[in-house]
C-alpha cells in the first residue's frame, strides 16, 4: 500500500503491546497523512496514549511496525523518534519552572545543530520524493561545530534568533525571558510546541492538550494548530472530548479496548456516531437535567468566606457568599485556580486557619465552623473530590477497602469499633455491581482501575451515605463518555431525592447541562450568578475570563 507512492507521514501497522495481563494495544493500525490534523479519540484505557507513546519511542511494541514517511523504524528511545521529526507534548508539561521560556526550549538541545540535521536531510532526500509539505524549515546550520558548542555551552543568541524566526513564521509569540512558571498555562503549552518546532518536529503529538486550558486558550490553541497544519506540519491530537475532535480535526480515529474500531473524515461523521463507537453502545451525550421540581431548606450556606493565600496578601477566596438549597444543583463555573479548590477545602476543614480565615459556613442549618471534618461528613455530606487519585482513593488498596473509606464508623460496617467484614463485602459487591465498576473484582487495587471506573467507585461510596449535601468537584474529569453519562444521571438523581448539590467544574457544558443556578468564580470572587435558562456559553466564558 505504502509502496504505491501515496504520501503517509506516519503509519502504525499491527502494533501490539501487553502490560502484565492487560492488552493495551491489540493490532493497532493507523495512517496519518501529512499536513493534516488527525484526531485520536477513545475512552480512558482505550489504548490511544499507549499507541502514541510507542510512536514517540517511550514504549517498545511487542509486535508491529512503525513507518515514518514509508520507512520502517525501530526506536530505542524518544531520541530516535525526535531525530525522525516526531515530537510530543505531554499532558503534564515537561518544563523547569524557574527557567525562562528560552532556556526551557534549548535545554537538552545544547549540542544541537550538528549531527541531527544532516542525518535527517539525507533520509528525506534519499526517498526521492520530498514533498513541499514534508520539507524541514530552515537550511542546515552553516556554522562549523565549535569547541564551545561541542562542550554544550550554547549560543543563546543564535538559539533566540532561530526561535524568533519560528515564532514569527507560526505566529506563536512568547515572552522569552520570563520565568516559565509565571506564564499562563496556555503560553506554557505554546512553549512546549515551540520546543518541538525548535527540535525540527514535523509530526506533533498532543496528548489531551486542552485539559488544563480555559475556553479562550483552547480556541487559541486550535487556531495555532491550524496554522501549523497549513504550514505543512502533521498533527496528531489525542482526546476524549468529542467537541474538540469535531471542531478542528480533519480525520478521526476511534479507539476502543486497545484496538482501532473506526476511522472517518471528520466532516462525514457526527458526535453521536463517534460516542457510540467509543463506548460500543448507544450513549446519551450531555444528559440535560430537567429543572428542579422542589427546593427545600438551605443545605449549604456560605457567608462572607475568606481564605487567605499561602504567601502574599491576596486572598484565595474573598468574601464569597452563596447558598445551596436542598433539591437544587448549584454549579460553580470558572477556570481552575480561581479559588474553587480553596473554597472546597474551607467547606471540609473550616476549623483550620489555613483553610478558612473568616466567614460563616452552615450545613443543613448547623453552624459547622468549629466542627471537624468527620463531624461535617456525619451531617450527611458526600464529596467527590477534584483529584480522585490523591484525595478520593487509596490507590494501592483493594476496591473493598476503598469502598469503606469514610464509612468506617457507619453503623452498617462498624460493630463496637470492629469492621464487619461480611457486611462490607456484601455492600461493596452490591455497589460495584449497581454502579457498574469494572472489573468488579473487590480484591483489585483501586489504582489499577481506569479513571472512569475509579470515579464510579467513589460515586458509589459517597452515595452510600445518602447525602444531604453532595459536593461534586470536577466529577467527570478524565472520565469517558459512558461513565460521564452515568455519573451525571446519578447526580441528578441525588438532587431529585432531595440532596443539595454543589457542582464545581471547569467544563462549561457540564455546568450548563446540570445546574439549576450557576455561579462564576473569578480570582476568588463570585463574578456572576445566573439562573437556569439565563446563561449562554459566551456569557459564562466572558465572566470566567474576568469580563
Amino acid at each position: 500500500m505504502i509502496s504505491s507512492g501515496s504520501e503517509v507521514a506516519v503509519e502504525l501497522r499491527g502494533i501490539t503491546k501487553q502490560f502484565g495481563s492487560v492488552l493495551a494495544n491489540a493490532g493497532v493500525d493507523l495512517r496519518v497523512e501529512p499536513g493534516t490534523i488527525q484526531g485520536l479519540i477513545g475512552e480512558n484505557g482505550a489504548g490511544k496514549s499507549t499507541a502514541m507513546k510507542i510512536l514517540y519511542g517511550l514504549y517498545r511494541p511487542d509486535s508491529g511496525h512503525i513507518l515514518i514517511r514509508g520507512q520502517p523504524q525501530v526506536w530505542s528511545s524518544p531520541r530516535d523518534a525526535i531525530a525522525q521529526g516526531i515530537g510530543m507534548v505531554h499532558q503534564h508539561f515537561m518544563l523547569a519552572g524557574p527557567y525562562s521560556a528560552l532556556d526551557n526550549i534549548i535545554l537538552g538541545a545544547e549540542g544541537e545543530g550538528r549531527g541531527g540535521r544532516e542525518r535527517r536531510g539525507s533520509r528525506v532526500e534519499g526517498r526521492g520524493q520530498p514533498s513541499g509539505a514534508m520539507r524541514r524549515e530552515g537550511a542546515p546550520d552553516p556554522r562549523p561545530p565549535t569547541l564551545v558548542r561541542a562542550w554544550g555551552i550554547l549560543g543563546r543568541k543564535h538559539a533566540r534568533e532561530r526561535l524568533e524566526a519560528l515564532a514569527a513564521q507560526y505566529r506563536l509569540s512568547v515572552d522569552w525571558e520570563a520565568p516559565i512558571e509565571q506564564l499562563p498555562v496556555g503560553i506554557q503549552q505554546r512553549v512546549e510546541i515551540l520546543k518541538l518546532l525548535y527540535h525540527r518536529a514535523d509530526v506533533l503529538i498532543l496528548d489531551e492538550p486542552t485539559a488544563v486550558l480555559t475556553p479562550q486558550e483552547t480556541n487559541d490553541l486550535f487556531a495555532n494548530l491550524k496554522k501549523l497544519r497549513d504550514e505543512g506540519k502533521t498533527i496528531i491530537f489525542v482526546t476524549h472530548k468529542l467537541k474538540e475532535v469535531m471542531a478542528f480535526t480533519d480525520r478521526v480515529t476511534v479507539f476502543r479496548g486497545g484496538s482501532v474500531v473506526g476511522e472517518a473524515l471528520t466532516s462525514q461523521t457526527s458526535p453521536q456516531e463517534l460516542a457510540d463507537l467509543m463506548v460500543g453502545r448507544k450513549v446519551v451525550l450531555n444528559v440535560q437535567a430537567p429543572p428542579t421540581q422542589a427546593t427545600g431548606k438551605a443545605a449549604l450556606e456560605v457567608e462572607a468566606l475568606v481564605v487567605s493565600g499561602t504567601r502574599g496578601a491576596t486572598h484565595r477566596v474573598s468574601n464569597v457568599t452563596f447558598s445551596v438549597r436542598s433539591g437544587e444543583i448549584v454549579g460553580i463555573a470558572g477556570v481552575e485556580g480561581n479559588g474553587q479548590s480553596e473554597l472546597l477545602q474551607a467547606l471540609l476543614h473550616p476549623r483550620e486557619p489555613q483553610c478558612r480565615k473568616a466567614g460563616r459556613i452552615s450545613i443543613t442549618g448547623m453552624d459547622v465552623t468549629q466542627m471537624t471534618a468527620r463531624e461535617i461528613r456525619n451531617l450527611g455530606v458526600s464529596l467527590i473530590p477534584e483529584d480522585r487519585l490523591h484525595e478520593g482513593l487509596l490507590p494501592e488498596w483493594p476496591l473493598r477497602d476503598n469502598f469503606l473509606l469514610g464509612l468506617q464508623h457507619s453503623a452498617a460496617f462498624n460493630r463496637a469499633g470492629f469492621i464487619c467484614s461480611s457486611n462490607l463485602q456484601a455492600a461493596a459487591a452490591k455497589a460495584v455491581n449497581e454502579y457498574d465498576v469494572r472489573p468488579a473484582n473487590l480484591a483489585l487495587s483501586a489504582g489499577n482501575l481506569s479513571g472512569g471506573n475509579q470515579q464510579k467507585l467513589i460515586v458509589a461510596r459517597e452515595f452510600e451515605r445518602r447525602p444531604k449535601l453532595l459536593i461534586a468537584a470536577q466529577p467527570t474529569r478524565g472520565v469517558d463518555v459512558g461513565a460521564t453519562e452515568f455519573i451525571h444521571r446519578r447526580i441528578i438523581k441525588a438532587r431529585d431525592e432531595g440532596a443539595g448539590v454543589l457542582l464545581v467544574s471547569s467544563e462549561l457544558e457540564e455546568i450548563m447541562a446540570l445546574s439549576d443556578r450557576i455561579l462564576v468564580m473569578y480570582e476568588g470572587r463570585i463574578a456572576g450568578e445566573f439562573a437556569k435558562g439565563n446563561f449562554s456559553e459566551s456569557l459564562l466564558g466572558l465572566r470566567m475570563g474576568g469580563g
Binding site: N44, G45, T50, H390, E396, L405
Partner: protein, 346 residues
C-alpha cells in the same frame, strides 16, 4: 505467597553474601553454615536462646511496623525499650513488697506506659509542629539511654554490684520461664509477644481505628477528605509503637535479669527495623523475621566459640547484608519483574 518467596530469596541472597565473607576471612562456608545452624537450633538450650532473642525482636519489629503503617519511621525503639525496661525495674525496686499477680502486672503496665509516652512525644511533635520523627526519635534515643543510665547509677543503684544496674526486683515480679528449654531464659514473655502480635494484627486489619491509621499512612489527603483526623492518628501510631517497644522491658526485666542493666539491649530497637522490613510490616511476617534474626544472633555467638577467625560481630555483618538484600528489592525481583500499571496510562 509472592511476597514470602521474595523475602525468602532476599534472606538466601544475604546469607550467601555473608558466607562468602567468611570464606574470604579464611573459613569454610559450609562449616560456618553448619555451626550457625547448630548454634541456633542444635540443642534445647540453643533453641531456647534463639527464642530468648526472638522475643524482644517481635516487640520492636511490631513497633516499627505500626508506625510504618501510619507512614512514620520509628527509629526510636531503642530509646523506648530502654525506658520501658527502666520503668518495670523501677516499680520492682520501689515496691518490693507487692505480691503476685499485681506485681508483674503493674510492672508490665509501667513498661508499656513509659514506652508509650516516649513514642508519643515524637508523634506529637511531628503532628503538631512538623518536626521530622526520624530526627526526633534518634535524638530521643540518646536522651533515653542517658536518662536510664543516670537513674541506674544514681537513683536506684544496686549497692551489691559493681555493674551499672538497678536494685533487683522482688521475686514476686518474675514471670515464669518456659521449662522445656533447659537453662535458657525463655519466659512467658514469648507467648505474650505472640499474643501481642495477634492483637496488633486484629487492630490493624479488623478495627475502624486501625483502618484509619493505615489510611493516613497510605494517603493523608484521602484520609483527611474522608474525615479522618490525620494528626490524631499520627500521635496514636507513635504512642502504640512506643508502647510495643516498651514491652521489651517485660521480657528483659521480668523474664530474665530481674533488674535494669545499662546497655542490656544488643540494639534490639535497630534490628527491629530490619525485622519489620523483612516481615513486610505484617505481624505474621514479623514473628517469622524475628525468629530468623534471633537465630542469626544466637548462631553467630556459637561461631565466636567454634571458629578461629569469626567473632559475634559477624552477626552484624550477616544482619546488615540481609537487610541490604531485603531493601534492594530489584536484585531479588529482577528476573520476575512485572510492571505495575495503571490503566489510565494506557
Amino acid at each position: 505467597m509472592r511476597r514470602l518467596a521474595q523475602s525468602f530469596l532476599a534472606v538466601a541472597f544475604g546469607l550467601a553474601l555473608g558466607l562468602s565473607a567468611t570464606w574470604i576471612a579464611g573459613e569454610n562456608p559450609w562449616e560456618v553454615l553448619k555451626i550457625l545452624a547448630r548454634g541456633a537450633f542444635g540443642s534445647r538450650e540453643n533453641i531456647g536462646m534463639t527464642l530468648f532473642y526472638t522475643t524482644p525482636l517481635i516487640f520492636t519489629g511490631l513497633s516499627v511496623a505500626v508506625a510504618f503503617q501510619a507512614g512514620l519511621f520509628n527509629v526510636g525503639a531503642e530509646g523506648q525499650l530502654n525506658l520501658g525496661a527502666l520503668a518495670a525495674a523501677a516499680i520492682g525496686a520501689l515496691l518490693p513488697g507487692l505480691g503476685w499477680p499485681m506485681a508483674p502486672l503493674l510492672a508490665s503496665l509501667a513498661a508499656l506506659a513509659a514506652g508509650t509516652v516516649w513514642g508519643a512525644i515524637p508523634g506529637w511533635l511531628r503532628a503538631r509542629r512538623g518536626s521530622h520523627e526520624v530526627i526526633v526519635t534518634i535524638m530521643l534515643n540518646f536522651v533515653a539511654v542517658g536518662l536510664s543510665t543516670y537513674v541506674a547509677l544514681y537513683v536506684l543503684k544496686n549497692p551489691e554490684s559493681q555493674n551499672p544496674e538497678t536494685r533487683p526486683i522482688g521475686l514476686a515480679y518474675m514471670i515464669p520461664r518456659l521449662g522445656v528449654f533447659g537453662d535458657a531464659p525463655v519466659s512467658a514473655a514469648l507467648p505474650l509477644a505472640l499474643l501481642v502480635a495477634a492483637i496488633v494484627w486484629v487492630f490493624l486489619r479488623r478495627t475502624a481505628l486501625g483502618y484509619e491509621l493505615r489510611a493516613v499512612g497510605q494517603s493523608e489527603p484521602a484520609a483527611r477528605a474522608a474525615g479522618i483526623d490525620a494528626t490524631k492518628m499520627r500521635i496514636l501510631a507513635m504512642a502504640i509503637a512506643g508502647g510495643l517497644a516498651g514491652l521489651v522491658g517485660v521480657a528483659e526485666v521480668l523474664g530474665n535479669a530481674g533488674k535494669f542493666k545499662v546497655e542490656f539491649s544488643p540494639q534490639y530497637g535497630f534490628i527491629g527495623i530490619a525485622v519489620a522490613l523483612l516481615g513486610r510490616n505484617e505481624p505474621i511476617g514479623i514473628v517469622a523475621a524475628a525468629l530468623l534474626f534471633g537465630a542469626l544472633h544466637q548462631g553467630t555467638r556459637e561461631l565466636d566459640f567454634s571458629t578461629e577467625h569469626i567473632t559475634s560481630e559477624v552477626s552484624l555483618v550477616f544482619q546488615g547484608l540481609i537487610i541490604l538484600a531485603v531493601s534492594a528489592e530489584p536484585v531479588t525481583n529482577w528476573f520476575r519483574s512485572k510492571p505495575r500499571i495503571n490503566t489510565d496510562e494506557l
